[in-house]
Amino acid sequence: MIYLDNAATSWPKPPEVKEAMVRFMEEIGANPGRSGHLLSIEAARIIYETREILSTLFNVKDSSRIVFTLNATESINLALKGLIRPGDHIITSSMEHNSVMRPLRDLEKKGVELSVVPCSPKGELDSRDIEKKIQSRTRMIVLNHASNVTGTLLPLREVGRIAGEHGLLFLVDAAQTAGVYPIDMENDGIDLLAFTGHKSLYGPQGTGGLVIGERVNEKEMIPLKHGGTGSRSEFEEQPDFLPDRFESGTPNAVGIAGLLAGVRFVLKQGVEPIRRHESCLIEKLIEGFKEIPQITLYGPEEMKDRIATLSFNIENLSPSEVASLLEEEFGILCRPGLHCAPSAHRTIGTFPKGTVRFSLSAFTSDGEVKQSIEAVRHLLHQKD
């Protein structure tokens, strides 16, 4: 079997991720920071260490500004619903995933004004188009770091600079890039970074977080959830300090133990070496596909402009037909369709049909890429 659906969730995970989760279940197991006993402290220590290692990865000065969530979607919802009020204006791109689009469309119904800046048919964004949309009521710019459809990287640092110059908040959806592309809260000018744990950070599903930059006043940010935090137990009001303000209820501690092992794996391998590995393979995949005339490729060709997620279509076949033939005959698992990003597909001209998407990871091998190209060739011969 060849797993090429890493943009949905990475698999396999490094063995140490499972080991850390088993160790948590067998030896720790307690509720982190709720009880003051040995095991409760040990569970809290694992969560603390995960905040610390993530602050190294994203260049965050104060790790209390990293709050854990279930996934990037929850983080984006927290940032948007916590900070945006009716009358505010938000700018985003046409390449966004529904994790951004749906909460924004919901806010729009509640009196928030939204500008969706069109991207090129390859999914590229011109940062000047963002700047042109800024008006007096603009509060925030929201962008994905790389498209989950085309793999196109958006110009984060340029937009971060524009946001900074205009005093706007900059929210980045790093679901596709955290762990495989360098992200620097300070130098990229990011105010809110939404990440997920189960993709290129190699943690389990149900882990993710939001980094809340120093320019955001957390006291003015409304939590999605209110409840017990293990702190200020004598008060019935929500704590106003980080990270507790946004972490009500028992966390996914076993998941976070796995995430810690996943991030340690990423830092041990190195973000740059992982990216080089994936770039090299996606380049081979693109080269191989370019030789097949019936294939249409989407997104940028240059490695510096993209991550290792590739969308394509095959002449006279629907994406779902391609995906099921690849699975049944060649054991290749990928994702056809709209990838929860209808706006991105409209931008690249593939709505409502969608595309077939191959997405790689640190564990994808050269052989698997070669076999995948061969599989597509065979599939076309069979059709002839």
Partner: protein
């Protein structure tokens, strides 16, 4: 040895304080908050009383929020 305890608003700061102190080789330990004291979080940092000034300034430097320092 005479001990004291430092109380914190949350477990995050207690763990941060423990780490900062241990990095400096100070002999500290996280313990449940003694019954006669009350704290927002269930654990506190037991410290050698004579090191209280050193640790207090260390925690200030490390942006650790402290709720109080008490003699045990």
């Amino acid at each position: 040895m005479v001990y004291g305890v430092i109380l914190f608003p949350s477990i995050y700061f207690a763990l941060r304080a423990e780490k900062k102190s241990k990095e400096k080789g100070l002999s500290v330990r996280l313990i449940p908050v003694p019954r006669h004291l009350s704290s927002d979080c269930g654990v506190c940092l037991r410290i050698p009383w004579e090191e209280r000034e050193t640790i207090h300034s260390l925690l200030k430097e490390g942006s650790v929020k402290v709720e109080g320092v008490h003699l045990l």
